[in-house]
């Protein structure tokens, strides 16, 4: 059996009384795409922060391809192949789109010179920002910022990419473009963990869905079975859980 690209073992994290993770286990196989749903405040973004090394869990271990990375700082995790996007895009506002990508291609993917230029431009073109490569990132609208987040994640040449609500706030046609894009890179062998409230975007992309609530994964498996799970429905009661059938 191949080593999981990402393995979380017994991760716990609390902020005072608020439990955001409690003895949480999660394993991601190479090339696998996993969706994570859960009510607001369930700890989804904190989970990503812990995987990406921005925050430390109170206890538990994280390993990548069999190597314990629990003590690695964020920048080193990017370098060894954990890419991430921020829920609220955090571009380098004073730099151009191309320069944003170049940072990830050089410091993240470890490329130099023309190879770095090529990767930066390629990822920019790939997400549809080819026309605005020279534009100042701070001048971009929401859709372009979301695309830039995704492109930056791709530019660092990850083995696993953490997507944090990249479809939130987008129109339906925009979501459709995004889904196609993410399916494309996943089919090239990139493992994806995708937190999303736009559930139909997930169900079109992933074959495995987990629901995070109260710091635990209360369901994990086939997307449609998870969504039909009474416990999951219960947790989501009063929040907007819509599948494509519901909105149609």
């Amino acid at each position: 059996m191949t080593e999981p690209v990402l393995a979380l073992r017994g991760i716990s994290k609390r902020f005072g009384e608020v439990v955001v993770a409690e003895d949480l286990d999660l394993t991601v196989a190479p090339g696998e795409a996993i969706g994570i749903v859960g009510p607001n405040g369930a700890g989804k973004s904190t989970l990503f922060s812990m995987i990406a090394g921005e925050q430390k869990p109170d206890s538990g271990a994280i390993s990548m391809l069999g190597r314990d990375i629990s003590s690695l700082p964020a920048q080193d995790r990017t370098r060894i192949g954990i890419g991430r996007t921020f829920q609220i895009p955090r571009p380098f506002e004073g730099m151009s789109v191309f320069e944003n990508l170049l940072v990830f291609a050089t410091s993240g993917a470890g490329l130099h010179g023309h190879a770095a230029y090529t990767r930066a431009a390629e990822t920019g073109e790939r997400v549809g920002l080819g026309d605005v490569l020279n534009a100042q990132a701070g001048s971009l609208g929401l859709l372009a910022r979301k695309r830039l987040e995704l492109a930056r994640g791709l530019a660092s040449d990850p083995t696993v990419l953490l997507l944090d609500e990249v479809a939130g706030g987008l129109t339906e046609p925009e979501v459709a473009d995004l889904v196609e894009l993410i399916r494309g890179v996943q089919q090239e062998g990139l493992a994806i963990v995708w937190i999303e409230h736009v559930v139909h975007a997930l169900t079109q992309t992933v074959r495995r869905l987990a629901c995070l609530a109260g710091g635990r994964l209360i369901a994990d498996g086939d997307p449609f079975e998870v969504l039909d799970d009474p416990v999951v429905r219960e947790v989501y009661l009063g929040t907007t859980l819509t599948t494509e059938e519901d909105t149609a």
Binding site: E54, Q75, F92, A121, E125
Partner: protein, 345 residues
């Protein structure tokens, strides 16, 4: 399949090439100064060069590294004292200035271990305290004159006019080297990382940048630059006085210059230093009013031109004297879909 070799990245634009010619002419003009103007003019301009150096260093530190230090006078002082001590040992003062840069950088390393444990406001106050500690330690040493300071030996034999011109050229040379050094640093890989850190440190770390390492490099570079400035001051004044050389006013000048000129722009400290120097020359006899005017001006600049004079100008015109960015001059000529996938694992 076509290889995407048609991608073309430019580091400079035609307007910047012109501006480089203009800057070169200005530099030549400045070099000729001692032959055409009175000695009093050139000797007062040494201060302008010192201001350009320390402001450029503070801009690197605060404008890019996000390290708002108000203790850089520590390294001005260390640089100055190094020249004094080296001269006593028989080293020519102009050579000693470079040793001043070295000592400052060397002492900045252990200082950074201490200061980098502090964040934001605490870092600012902490650096000031550290600078005071350096001053207090320095005045304990009688061989450098204690609290009275000490005179510089080694330049006394020179003809005063010649010495004045020499100091002027030396200060000019170091100022040009400092500005070019900043330009080179910002164009390099470190500069790309530094600019990213300037915009968003968390995001920069997510991009694989070791922000602490980059900041430490910038802190050391900035200490070395301030060491050079301190050396020039001592070569110019021929003596060092601890309260003056370790004065927090230096930090006030750096901050004022960078805020007025434009923080985060290489050109900012140049413009700011010119403005500050002009005010110093024309308004110095106004005494306290001069300082109040400085304060009001800084507040107005911060309120209406948060990016300083150069920032406001640059955002309107898109003009940069020192192009440090990457411009995509030509995109791939093959459509995106026909190219190799991004992931080949």
């Amino acid at each position: 399949m076509n290889t995407p070799n048609s991608l073309l990245i430019r580091r400079s634009r035609r307007s910047s090439n012109l501006s480089f010619v203009a800057l070169g002419l200005v530099a030549v003009g400045l070099v000729m100064m001692p032959y055409v103007v009175y000695q009093s003019v050139t000797s007062s301009m040494v201060m302008l060069f010192v201001l350009v150096i320390i402001a450029s260093m503070w801009n690197l530190l605060a404008g890019f590294g996000g390290l708002v230090s108000i203790g850089q006078q520590a390294y001005i002082g260390i640089g100055a004292y190094t020249v004094i001590v080296m001269a006593d040992l028989g080293v020519h003062p102009l050579i000693g200035v470079f040793f001043g840069a070295l000592t400052s950088a060397m002492l900045a390393l252990p200082t950074s271990w201490l200061a980098f444990r502090l964040r934001g406001d605490y870092f600012a106050v902490g650096t000031w305290v550290i600078a005071e500690v350096y001053r207090l330690v320095m005045i304990k040493f009688q061989f450098v004159g204690g609290a009275d300071g000490k005179s510089l030996v080694g330049l006394s034999g020179l003809d005063p006019v010649m010495r004045s011109a020499l100091t002027y050229w030396f200060a000019l040379g170091i100022a040009i080297l400092t500005v070019l050094g900043c330009f080179w640093l910002l164009r390099s890989r470190i500069g790309l990382a530094l600019t990213a850190i300037r915009d968003d440190e968390v995001s920069a770390r997510a991009g694989g940048i070791d922000a602490t390492r980059i900041k430490r490099i910038v802190y050391l570079v900035s200490a070395a630059g301030c060491g050079l400035a301190g050396g020039i001051l001592v070569v110019d004044a021929l003596r060092v006085q601890p309260d003056a050389i370790f004065s927090v006013s230096w930090s006030a000048y750096m901050i004022f210059i960078v805020i007025i000129g434009g923080i985060g722009y290489l050109e900012g400290p140049l413009i700011g230093a010119l403005v500050f120097f002009a005010m110093q020359q024309f308004l110095a006899e106004m005494g306290t009013w001069y300082l109040m005017l400085l304060g009001v001006l800084a507040i107005c600049a911060a309120a209406w031109f948060p990016k300083g004079l150069w920032g406001a100008f640059s955002q309107k015109t898109g003009f940069r004297l020192f192009p440090v960015g990457y411009h995509v001059a030509q995109r791939f000529d093959t459509p995106v879909d026909s190219r190799a996938p991004l992931f080949r694992n």
